[in-house]
């Protein structure tokens, strides 16, 4: 067994996105289990910065999938390109991040090749040429399934919450090649016709600090103090499903199983009791600090630190204290 593991990576600007770094760490450990080469695939040119990152994650070879037909994102065309690349480089495993695009593209690969695709894996070892033993998340990580995947190629996406991004012990020199896929019109029927850039501010998924608010905030206006705190901490505001259902905040700020999964250094969460669907979206936060009136709320047992009390008093006091500190140090 010395075949290869192929991993799709996504970039944002010049940087490999965190979800893809985690997928690479997963891919590296799977490759190690069968003495396989680790190959990365990227749609579009590979920049110097990206290449350096790939080397530090132990990637042996990288392919820049380039075609004039790939000027905008087209899921079927991406999937066809990966299928052709799989054949070219002789890989028996294809992985991608469990991101929106990763899951979508891999589902198309699975459909086109009529092979199973296992989403949200966090552990895998190769048993033989046709078999991978894997662990995957169900119920957004509240349940784990151990399974054998008997298929070639083995198609998997990597759970964001279950894997950390770890650089390889020994960095490699990554060899880059261009790969031009053979695509036709039918692969491009579904494509992004128009892209509107993100609005100003930090996106929830990338924020290093998230200030969370739930029904306990009490009203749409009540979020002003949370907005102010998020600003002071250079972070973003995230909310519970109840808050978006009440129309207090837009849906794209929802943290949870059906909203955004966050992975900040700090999740400062207030007025959220901690429904399972919400906890599923914040289990990757490094530190959770909860403010809640109820010391028995589920969120307290999932937090690292807690303050018991009314957020509508505590948050403004915290904002004032931070401002005062700022004026003292100046």
């Amino acid at each position: 067994m010395s075949s290869s593991v192929l991993c799709l990576i996504e970039t944002d600007g010049d940087a490999v996105i965190e979800a893809s770094l985690r997928a690479l760490s997963f891919a590296k450990s799977l490759a190690r289990s069968s003495n396989a080469r680790l190959i990365a695939a990227h749609v579009g040119e590979i920049s110097g910065t990206t290449l350096a990152t790939l080397g530090s994650f132990g990637v042996d070879d990288a392919y820049a999938i380039t075609s004039t037909r790939l000027s905008s994102y087209a899921p079927v065309a991406w999937a066809q390109s990966l299928r052709q690349l799989l054949e070219t480089c002789g890989a028996t495993t294809l992985l991608a991040a469990g991101s929106d695009r990763g899951n979508e593209v891999m589902a198309h690969v699975g459909a086109l090749s009529d092979q199973p695709m296992v989403a949200n894996c966090f552990g895998a070892t190769r048993v033989d040429d046709e078999t991978v033993r894997l662990s995957r998340q169900r119920w957004a990580g509240s349940l784990i399934e151990d399974a054998l995947l008997r298929a070639s190629p083995s198609l998997m996406t990597v759970a964001f919450d279950g894997v950390s991004s770890e650089r390889a012990e020994q960095p490699t020199t990554t060899h880059v090649s261009a790969f031009e896929p053979d695509l036709d019109e039918s692969d491009l029927v579904t494509h992004v016709a128009q892209w509107t850039g993100r609005s100003a501010g930090i996106s929830l998924a990338d924020a290093r600090v998230v200030v969370g608010g739930g029904r306990g905030v009490g009203s749409a206006e009540g979020f002003a103090a949370l907005d102010e705190l998020a600003d002071l901490l250079g972070g973003a505001v995230g909310v519970s499903r109840a808050v978006t259902s009440l129309g207090w905040r837009p849906h794209n700020q929802q943290v949870g199983q059906t909203g955004t999964r966050i992975a900040p250094d700090l999740y400062l969460v207030s007025g959220i009791s901690g429904a399972t669907q919400h906890l599923a979206g914040c289990q990757s936060a490094k530190r959770v600090v909860a403010i809640n009136t109820d010391p028995d709320a589920p969120i307290i047992s999932r937090a690292d630190y807690a303050v018991i009390g009314d957020l509508n008093v505590i948050i403004p006091a915290l904002v004032a204290a931070i401002r005062e500190r700022g004026s003292l140090t100046k």
């Binding site: 995947l149 909860a290 303050v307």
Partner: protein
């Protein structure tokens, strides 16, 4: 389920559902609501289809209460259908239904199931029916012949333009589902359900077992109560390094 823990059966093969109720999951509920809204705007009718054991007929009736008029149940004996088997069963039923009723302009799915989270049944169905497909849709405009579908991507917005018929999977947030009306619920009770018996396939993903992960955080360290805790909170933020 506030902070609930999932219980696995003693043989480690299934989730113990004895103490659980079932409900339509959030993405799917939004898909039904979206279909009903489209029909209210441009005409037509909404069929709703589910695959599951006999109890799943209740969820079809929930969809009928929202405004779906044709209910289709792919009835299983409770065995798990993997995404490939599920998509085969749906395509078989859709093709049979379409030969009687004409082509569905739009087939909507929930983006992913909350339990298995496979992210792929809609896409597999689209390929087998040779129809275009986009996942993760949060905004949809439908005309007689086409659909403009939008979704979020890293804080921005992607627009796809598709001709009908097409397949879309939608996410919670595309709409806020209505609360079913009393007449709606009365109609739902009496609605006729068309049944199919799909055949299960052996899966190439062989489940060895299910387990509940260990919870890493057991109990928080209490920093204090009320505003008295603010100095400790400030010190903590400083220690974490989030204060500039």
């Amino acid at each position: 389920m506030v902070g609930a823990r999932i219980v696995v059966t003693p043989d480690g093969q299934e989730v113990d559902t004895k103490q659980l109720g079932f409900t339509v999951s959030p993405h799917e509920e939004c898909a039904v609501e979206e279909a009903v809204r489209i029909v209210e705007r441009v005409g037509g009718s909404v069929s709703v289809l589910t695959l599951g054991p006999s109890e799943a007929s209740e969820q079809l009736r929930d969809a009928a209460a929202l405004g779906a008029t044709h209910l289709v149940h792919l009835k299983t004996d409770g065995r798990e259908f993997d995404p490939i088997a599920t998509s085969h069963a749906i395509v078989d039923a859709v093709q049979q239904l379409e030969s009687d009723r004409g082509t569905y302009d739009l087939i909507l799915f929930g983006n992913e199931a909350p339990d298995t989270g496979d992210y792929q049944v809609g896409i597999r169905v689209a390929h087998r029916l040779h129809r275009p497909c986009v996942a993760g849709i949060k905004n949809l405009e439908v005309s007689e012949t086409s659909a403009r579908a939008r979704r979020e991507f890293r804080g921005g917005d992607e627009l796809f333009e598709l001709e009908l018929p097409c397949v879309l999977s939608v996410k919670e947030g595309i709409n806020l589902p209505r609360y079913p009306s009393l007449p709606g619920r009365m109609r739902a009770k009496k609605a006729v359900i068309e049944e199919f018996e799909p055949s299960a396939h052996a899966s190439a993903v062989v489940k060895e077992g299910l387990r509940v992960p260990r919870v890493t955080r057991e109990r928080a360290e209490i920093l204090g109560t009320g505003v008295d805790a603010v100095p400790a909170l400030l010190a903590l933020l400083e220690e974490i390094g989030v204060l500039s």
